[in-house]
Amino acid sequence: MSPSRAVPVFVALGDATRLRLLRRLSVDGPLSITRLSRGTGVTRQAITKHLHTLGAAGLVRHARRGRERLWELDRKRLERAKRYLDQISAQWDDAAERLRAFVEN
């Protein structure tokens, strides 16, 4: 993995509008750009740009339904990321218990 591919994820997560879009898609499921921009005060063009940024980072994807293009979370990748964190967390649990045994004895 080259640093140039790391940049999109870093950029994608560092913006309030994009985080709101992720939360909205997480709660309401696949949505069109029209629905995503409604009532946000952000233009369709800006939303589109944000979605493409999230898409480049592998966080969302789009599918065509009829004449509409719907955007949704890429749950599989998010889920893999979470499982990865769970593994590291378990590793820390083990290390912490070894530390306990080391200092308490």
């Binding site: 966080l59 990748r77 990865y84 964190l85 590291i88 820390w92 083990d94 530390l99 080391f102």
Partner: protein, 145 residues
Amino acid sequence: MSTDRIEKRMVLRALRSRVWRAISDAKEFGTWFRITLDGAFAEGKTVRGSHGHFKVEMLVERIEPERYFSYRWHPYPNDPKVDYSTEPMTLVEFTLEDAEGGGGTALTIVESGFDRIPLARRSEAFRMNDGGWAGQIKNLAAYVT
């Protein structure tokens, strides 16, 4: 749930000075962490460690005696053929306090910065088998039990 950080809190039945030594002395750290380190910890210094194929570089960031120790590293075992040195690192922090009610040390371990690591890589690391993350977990489990 945060995808950016892991936090562990525990109360150890040991003096703060004892816990501090176990964390800040590279030799003692290596004993319980199960890693062989090539030198002592000092602020701004890089200490290299290995355990079989598992290799790490710890960039020591801050040392406040008996209170706080932090370093940065690449959090997962990786492919020796790939240079990860320019990728984001996570920050590991150990914070020591006197346990409430006395007679013990409250230790908090935090590893943060996972959101900066490419998602694609996180899933890749998870998928890898031989010599990869899953393999390391298995090795680790074998040593622990």
